[in-house]
């Protein structure tokens, strides 16, 4: 792992011209937007998450992880990964998850996106762990950040990380604000191996969110990870996701982490079930990177290959890889 990281770092720093943008499909290059990337800092992650990250390096090299993590989450590294994968633009997520992966503030994400505003789009979030005490204050800040921080085009929520049930109506104000301001919401669904995350259905099963989807028809709900449970390697809530996005105009989904190695045995089934369910016009591509050097490219290549094996047409792949993103976020179409 360390050798791979160091090699990738050297290649990123010393490599030649980045490859041609886009992915080649049936003789045509298609633009790609990865709507789901993370930034942050080692010092803003809790100790249990540090331990999980350190598990990926051998004893004797664990001390390198803070430096490696901060480098991997830096602007230059993220942009390098996008270039290497031929990706035109990306969504950068703020997170307020002190129970699990830590905090990357709205301000940090806005500043991050400012380094390459034509390619990086921000998703704001808010703290939810002391809602009875300071929920009103956080709602005000959330609304202000969405309106005033540059580059914020959407919202990132992660109920399972933030220990909040999907059916808790105390949080309806978030959905109302996002709808009123025209900022689509990305919501994490289903389980993951991160320590401290809630894995029970009320925090992960999108059917618990159906009342909110119905109640706020002007709010766009993007069901993140499409119900893929990367902890148990199962497509646990995929049927629920497809059902909801097909019944509600304001519901979409994202396949983050389904192009990762952990999902190699499920990705073909996933893209086939999406196609059979008629849900391709509701799928917006994202990866949940940049988890390690090369992850973003690996995810994209695996996902495109799976779509090709499932006989997605060029137009269907264009929708998934960039056009659905442009349509939902009211942005011009991406070209290569």
């Amino acid at each position: 792992m360390v050798a791979a990281v160091l090699a990738a770092a050297l290649l990123t720093a010393c490599g030649g011209e980045p490859p041609e943008p886009g992915v080649l499909v049936n003789g045509e290059r298609l633009a790609v937007v990865d709507m789901h990337l993370h930034t942050g800092a080692w010092d803003d992650m809790p100790p249990d998450f540090h331990s999980r990250l350190r598990e990926s390096v051998p004893t004797g090299f664990k001390w390198t992880m803070p430096f490696m993590s901060d480098w991997m989450l830096s602007t230059s590294s993220i942009l390098g990964q996008l270039d290497d994968a031929g990706i035109s633009a990306a969504g950068m997520f703020a997170v307020y998850s002190p129970h699990t992966t830590g905090i990357a503030t709205n301000e940090l994400v806005s500043e991050f996106c400012a380094t390459s505003p034509q390619r990086l789009y921000g998703f704001a979030s808010l703290r939810m762990d002391q809602w009875n005490v300071n929920g009103d204050e956080w709602l005000k800040k959330f609304e202000s950040d969405l309106q005033n921080l540059p580059h914020m085009i959407g919202v990132k929520l992660a109920h399972a990380h933030q220990q909040v049930r999907f059916d808790d109506e105390r949080f309806d104000g978030m959905y109302e604000i996002a709808g009123r301001l025209g900022k689509p919401i990305y919501l994490h669904t289903s389980g993951s191996p991160n320590p401290g995350i809630r894995i029970e259905p009320p925090y992960n099963d999108p059917y618990y969110l159906e009342d909110a989807i119905k109640k706020y028809p002007d709010t766009i709900f993007i069901l993140g990870h499409a119900g893929w449970d990367s902890l148990n390697k199962e497509l646990t809530y995929l049927d629920a996701v497809i059902d909801l996005v097909m019944r509600y105009d304001n519901a979409y989904f994202e396949p983050g982490a389904l192009g990762a190695e952990r999902a190699d045995e499920k990705i073909d089934e996933f893209v086939q079930r999406v196609k059979a369910g008629g849900a391709i016009p509701k799928m917006i591509y994202g990866s949940d990177g940049a988890q390690f050097p090369g992850y973003v490219k690996r995810h994209l290549e695996a996902f495109v290959a799976a779509m090709q094996r499932a006989n997605y047409t060029t137009e269907e792949m264009r929708m998934v890889l960039s056009d659905n993103f442009s349509r939902v976020f009211k942005l011009p179409k991406f070209e290569v």
Partner: protein, 150 residues
């Protein structure tokens, strides 16, 4: 001589490198007795969860960090023993819910009957604690009860 120096250098480096992780936490074992007060007529097994009431410091400080889940059991009084990283947090919160339909899920989108409740207790230097949890509110997560608006 050179071989000895090389060996010592390698050994020292290995010690330094191995020592650069986070130190192991100081664990405490505690025996907790949870007494549950049910709403009239509500039956079913009870699941108990124990949390740090508060965990970590600074910007990452947060309430209700899960320590242990004790799967649903019949009865109204339960004694459990568990280990936790007491120096990393303050006080304990004990959450309980009643699985009225026995499905193992704390309410579904359409069946909204399973009541829950939470009690916070100071842990101090205790090795034994007893708490009473009044289980009243259907389908509520721990953070619905705590922290409370002052």
């Amino acid at each position: 001589m050179r071989k000895i120096i090389n060996t010592m250098t390698l050994g020292l480096a290995a010690l330094l490198l191995a020592g650069c992780g986070e130190p192991p936490p100081d664990m405490r074992t505690i025996e907790l007795t949870t007494n549950v007060i049910r709403p009239p007529g509500v039956e079913g097994p009870v699941e108990v969860r124990v949390f740090h009431a508060w965990f970590l410091e600074g910007n990452l400080r947060h309430p209700l960090h899960l320590i242990e889940i004790f799967p649903a059991r019949d009865g109204d009084s339960f004694t459990d023993t568990f280990e936790y990283r007491h120096e990393m947090g303050d006080d304990l919160a004990v959450f309980a819910w009643i699985d009225t339909d026995g499905d193992g899920i704390h309410c579904t989108p359409t069946v909204r009957d399973d009541p829950s409740g939470l009690t916070v207790v100071e842990d101090g230097d205790a090795t034994k604690l007893e708490v009473t949890v009044n289980v009243t509110e259907p389908c509520r997560a721990p953070n619905w009860f705590y922290p409370t608006a002052s």
